[in-house]
Symmetry: C2
């Protein structure tokens, strides 16, 4: 398939060698200042050109009157000038040969000024500029340190490098989810707040991310889609190779009206959307929490079946996990005789050798190691759920190492549940950062496993799936 030039030019947005910040400012509180600062402080490896007709120098960098005054090649631009100047700035970008633009400036179709928006879209299209926005919050590529989000890092944390790319129609929702992900230790490839989508819309972004080697999982927050048919066609094609997790806001009648007032999106009924999503094998999240709960599980190899082995140092958590497992239609694995034998030999006599496997409140990390090793070998088990209560006397940080080493074998998916306060959260974050998806409760983990399973079944239909399957291209 031939990729349209406009979509291909998104490369300049996410991985530029040089970037102009048009509307750069010397005032610390101005958006155009924060963006230049984020590029410098973030360690962007390429060249940064501040553009401001009234400044000689901004943050130690030479400033230019216009992009046309820059002698060197410029791949991409972030634009944060008043709306009235946007058209002429875009003309300059086109003449300079800039391929990608992130247009932060608002005051277009979201306030009824549709003609003005069409005008700037026409300019971008004339020059094949991949234009994100207007009225957007910017783009983050953790790997290349591209960061045009104008919010300071102490308020909105930046995530580590990872395989999830996230596109959001709402800048605010997008921002708070990125912040949440950063804190939880979840890795991301790209974040795009695409705002009014005057040129590049959700379908263009999906197509780009489908071909993007750094993107393993796509997450989308949508209030509406511009072209439902194309969206479904594109999504259907992508989900054969990469999972897409989506949340659709404005599904209820009252919610649809709120969405219309917010982004002007026209909404269909909740049922219509859900049915369409299902048809395209999208993974639908019902809540913000589920959005990344569902996405992050794909850090693990795809499971070969739905038989779950549960290890816990708290009996009650095992009971709750079993309840959730049954509710989600998953199967409680039967331990093989060999597993039972090896566990009986290694665990204390008061441990009950069954699934869920309660290794008892006095368990240390060695006991976790024994249990994990036995379940790794057991062919009756497809997925291992590791419940770790970090509050107990015997548990310390070494259990985290054991879980990460087991996950690194990439033989079976390993999912963790850690419920608690500061000490627990610290360890949960480490697990997550090293690719072990970690959940706050048995129910949220089981729900994610169930979606994981559904996608694995879909994936195996379209791919030669050696078991367990590796989604990741890079590992």
């Amino acid at each position: 398939m031939k990729i349209p030039k406009k979509i291909k030019n998104l490369d300049a947005v996410f991985n530029p060698s040089s970037i102009a910040v048009i509307g750069a400012s010397r005032e610390p509180n101005k958006i155009g200042h924060v963006i230049v600062k984020n590029f410098i402080d973030g360690g962007f490896a390429g060249k940064v050109y501040p553009v401001n007709p009234n400044a000689e120098e901004i943050l130690g960098l030479r400033a230019y009157r216009s992009v046309l005054d820059i002698k060197e090649k410029v791949d991409s631009a972030v634009v944060a000038v008043p709306a009235v100047h946007v058209a002429s700035v875009l003309e300059d970008c086109g003449k300079k040969g800039i391929k990608g633009v992130v247009l932060i400036t608002g005051g277009f179709s979201e306030v009824g000024k549709r003609e003005e928006e069409e005008k700037i879209a026409a300019i971008a299209n004339r020059y094949d500029i991949a234009l994100i926005g207007p009225n957007c919050m910017g783009v983050i590529t953790p790997a290349t340190r591209v960061d045009s989000v104008f919010l300071p890092i102490y308020k909105l944390g930046r995530p580590r490098v990872g395989g999830i790319s996230f596109i959001s129609q709402s800048g605010a929702v997008g921002g708070c989810i990125v912040d949440l992900a950063a804190r939880a230790g979840i890795g991301m490839s790209k974040f795009v707040s695409y705002g009014n989508a005057a040129v590049i819309n959700e379908c263009d972004l999906l197509e780009y991310l489908a071909y993007d080697k750094e993107t393993e999982i796509i997450v989308a927050y949508l209030e509406g889609v511009k072209d439902g048919k194309r969206f479904l066609k594109v999504a259907k094609k992508i989900t054969r190779k990469k999972p897409i997790v989506v949340i659709k806001a404005g599904k209820s009648q009252a919610g649809a009206e709120a969405a219309k007032s917010h982004t002007g999106s026209l909404a269909g009924s909740a049922e219509a959307y859900s049915a369409a999503f299902k048809q395209a094998s999208l993974i639908e999240a019902q809540t913000l929490e589920q959005l990344f709960d569902f996405a992050k599980i794909f850090d693990q190899v795809l499971p070969c079946g739905n038989r779950v082995g549960i290890i816990t140092n708290g009996g009650g958590m095992g009971v709750l996990a079993t309840d959730s497992l049954e509710e989600e239609g998953l199967q409680l694995a039967n331990l093989s005789e060999e597993t039972k034998k090896s566990l009986s030999a290694a665990l204390p006599p008061y441990a009950n050798i069954r699934n869920p496997l309660d290794i008892i409140g006095d368990a240390d990390s060695h006991r976790y190691e024994v249990a994990i090793n036995a379940m790794m070998k057991d062919e009756n088990i497809d997925i291992i759920l590791l419940i770790i209560l970090f509050q107990t006397v015997g548990i310390d940080s070494s259990v985290v190492n054991i879980a990460i080493r087991a996950s690194d074998q990439r033989k079976k998916p390993i999912i963790a549940v850690c419920t608690g306060g500061e000490y627990t959260e610290m360890h949960k974050r480490i697990l997550e950062s090293y690719g072990v998806p970690s959940y706050s409760s048995p129910s949220s983990a089981m729900r994610a496993i169930s979606k994981f399973m559904q996608y694995a079944a879909h994936y195996s239909k379209y791919n030669q799936m050696a078991c367990p399957a590796q989604l990741k291209t890079k590992k």
Copy 2:
């Protein structure tokens, strides 16, 4: 109603003037050491008597061979001696006139030793000792600094003083929930891990908490109930005055088997339990997250109706909140003409005066104040949902003050939603600590509001409910 002596004696467990730690130890890793240390470090105001036949002094306190050697009156004892010594220790406690005992020691019915458990129960009953346990994790009363939980504070945080009392059949689940609550800033009155419930069971605890002036909301984690009929009778009576939030583990068939193996609880079907809970007007949580999500909302005055006014600085969050509102059967309030007028005058022209009220991404705390004040006055609004995105440029800590001041008026319930990372969590914790229930997402907030509403309707049936009703006795 006459309260049985055994239940009345629970006072000695929660509010003792003097306490003996039997099995106190000089070894820092021993349970009997950590407990003495927790009482000293926690600032328990009463007397602490370590009991250990082989020590002269423990942590600077004189140690005694037996409680019978202590000259002064002893209200209560924490017992952490090997199982074989428990019977004789309890006899001593009885002779000494000790009224409450927390028996940490395990090795009784949970490992099949039912006779031994019956024997110690008989001793306790002979002396009217309110005995918690055996095989339990202890008791915490934040207000009196009673803390017999043997886990260090860096692993398991201790909650602030508040109105929620939490009883848990599972020590592990109980512990991690307390830890979670401590971190979230949720206040608690009592925490009890009641273990095997040889003497004091869940019904006794409910009866005690029903009369306890410090307890405003009761939360329970149950795997089974010993006497279903009594449980329902007691619960039904209590819920007319105080809300009870309950989670029942072991509801599924596989989960019930796991529960049987864990605490020996026999379980009924999920439907039977849910129907019974409904009949007694218990608030049932389906997940661990919901347990305190539902409980903490009662920090606010009971609402007079289900018309919700939503304020947000992120349009997308307003859309999601509206979706959840409709799903939970709540009503989107219609702003009165007066409210519309006052908002139009005070908010910028690009703000859309409707519900959900989007005060726009550039909102500062003053704009929140204007919006809250208008909704406080509006008689069309029963509940205010405050969505605050702390990531935005205009928001700082002052918005927290405004929300707390509004909540302190106790005219209408004010519920907050704050989604994000470190900066957001810090502010969420402050709001929570000052009695403004704060949620991570619109959906979790709306679900809690819906339970809140249901309980308010039930409460008003049995009480002269001036509107809005005050559950709290102390404020």
